[in-house]
């Protein structure tokens, strides 16, 4: 591997404190991402300091609220609006909340967790 990456699993309740600590230690926010899993979402908050990559992660259920970190890292508001618009995850207290108007997709929240059709569940595969 070209670089070591530190992956840290946290509880949702620890997010704000952990992020505030990273900010105080001089990390910059690299990205916030979300992955739809079988029955929940995986949130990834990535940071970097002098090319050292650190990632915080936790899981959230469908429609479970996530606290915003935009009052610690102002630029987080854009990632949080993106996650809200594409995944339908409610994020509380975003400093600039577009309320679903940042992305105007034809299908609302296209990555939102939905019940899979029965045949896909059985095969366990992806639609082709």
């Amino acid at each position: 591997m070209t670089e070591e990456q530190e992956m840290v699993s946290i509880d949702k309740k620890e997010l704000v404190g952990a992020v505030a600590e990273l900010r105080a230690s001089g990390y910059r926010l690299v990205q916030i991402g979300c992955t739809t899993r079988a029955d929940n979402y995986e949130m990834n908050y990535s940071f970097d300091r002098e090319y050292r990559f650190k990632n915080l992660r936790f899981s959230v259920k469908n429609d479970e609220e996530v606290p915003s970190i935009s009052y610690i890292y102002w630029n987080a508001f854009l990632y949080e609006n993106e996650i809200h618009d594409l995944f339908g995850i409610p994020i509380a207290n975003i400093v600039i909340d577009y309320r679903g108007t940042l992305y105007r997709t034809r299908i609302p929240s296209p990555f939102k967790l939905t019940e899979k059709p029965a045949e896909q569940k059985e095969s366990g595969g992806q639609p082709s």
């Binding site: 591997m1 070209t2 670089e3 990456q5 910059r28 926010l29 690299v30 990205q31 991402g33 992955t35 739809t36 899993r37 990834n44 990535s46 090319y51 990559f53 990632n55 890292y73 102002w74 630029n75 508001f77 854009l78 577009y98 108007t101 940042l102 992305y103 105007r104 997709t105 296209p110 990555f111 595969g125 992806q126 639609p127 082709s128």
Partner: protein, 359 residues
């Protein structure tokens, strides 16, 4: 008493090559707030990993953007290779790096032309595009494509380039270098350009870092951060330092890009000199099972690729965080307090890529 207005800027505007919209709230001539709206050309390419297997997706990745398409292909393959533990042959790594730097020169010359055109500098626009054409010819001669190179694959590259052709590239870049120097000096020393760009849209070093800005935007504010320093490709074998300016204004951003053109020419020279003989690809066995955050330096800055595989041929998740998306908060910050007449030049000097943002 100041009059408050809301002025729509975009999605069609002479300085915008691609559609993005800003609602500019102004107080007389001063912008007090800027609200971006994106999604005019959102293509849902991240969602497409559910339909295309991880090998096929290389073609999709290259089509995320028309300018840095090669970089997306390169970054995607690099990330998959990290997940699968694939050792790419050295010659392929060198070829990838050479194409990456040619792609950077292409992008920066395109930006120079667009910036010149936005300021009414028509002749400079023509000269910039004339020189860029030579770079595109080099890319076509070696990769086969001009905009979509189509030469990178998981495990290596699709095409080898004869050593003689590589030396030809260095010779032709040597001929172009004084021409590029001439037009960039005209641009940077022009009274009107300096007058319109110096002291405009200033972002301090601290702000640029905390706002998560990347690429020339970040380096123009004095932060020496360049993802190539991580050492992907063969950058660890090449000698270079991040190009840094300290003023943090629009002029500094232009200067960083101009200096980066010459740095890229030097990197191509170094890479060609060191390119070894040998195979250009390894056979890919198995499917990705694991995850990795790939990072490379595109012409517009750091780009992040997140790949998560579950052992099947379809990825569980593919995410791209492009440089323009990372620079948007900085752009909003910059627009607040700017004069309405400066907005077009502010946006041009960011070199926004909406195609990437709307992946």
């Amino acid at each position: 008493m100041a009059r408050i207005n809301a002025i729509p800027f975009g999605p069609q505007h002479p300085v915008l090559v691609e559609p993005i919209h800003f609602d500019l709230v102004t107080e007389d001539e001063t912008v007090v707030d800027a609200i971006p709206i994106i999604g005019y050309v959102h293509r849902g390419l991240e969602k497409l990993v559910e339909k295309k297997d991880f090998i096929e997706y290389t073609y999709v990745a290259e089509r995320i953007c028309g300018i840095c398409g090669y970089m997306h292909g390169f970054g995607y393959c690099h990330t998959i290779e990290q997940v699968m533990g694939i050792e790419v042959p050295e010659r392929a790594q060198y070829l990838r790096t050479i194409w990456a730097e040619l792609s950077r020169i292409n992008s920066h010359l395109l930006w120079l032309g667009v910036a010149a055109d936005a300021m009414g500098f028509e002749s400079l626009f023509m000269h910039s595009f004339r020189i860029r054409e030579h770079i595109l010819n080099m890319i076509e001669a070696t990769a086969g494509g001009r905009m979509i190179f189509g030469c990178v694959k998981i495990g290596g590259v699709r095409r080898d380039v004869p050593s003689e052709e590589l030396r030809n590239i260095v010779a032709r870049l040597g001929e172009l270098e004084p021409q590029i120097r001439e037009i960039t000096e005209v641009f940077l020393k022009d009274y009107s350009v300096e007058h319109r760009l110096r002291g405009v849209g200033v972002i301090s070093k601290e702000e640029a870092y905390q706002l998560g800005m990347v690429g020339p935007m970040l380096r123009a504010s004095g932060v020496a951060l360049d993802t190539r320093k991580i050492g992907y490709g063969v950058y660890k074998e090449l000698t270079f330092e991040p190009v840094v300016e300290t003023a943090g204004d629009c002029y500094a951003r232009c200067k960083v890009r101009v200096r980066e053109i010459f740095e890229s020419i030097d990197l191509v020279r170094q890479a060609v000199e060191k390119t070894p003989e040998g195979p250009i690809e390894v056979k890919v066995k198995g499917t990705p099972n694991g995850e990795f955050f790939g990072r490379i330096e595109q012409p517009r800055g750091e780009v992040i690729y997140y790949v998560k595989g579950n052992g099947s041929k379809f990825l569980e998740r593919f995410r791209v965080r492009v440089p323009t998306f990372a620079n948007l908060p900085g752009m909003i910050k910059m627009l607040k307090g700017a004069q309405i007449a400066d907005v077009p030049t502010l946006i041009v000097t960011i070199d926004p890529c909406i195609s990437c943002t709307e992946r």
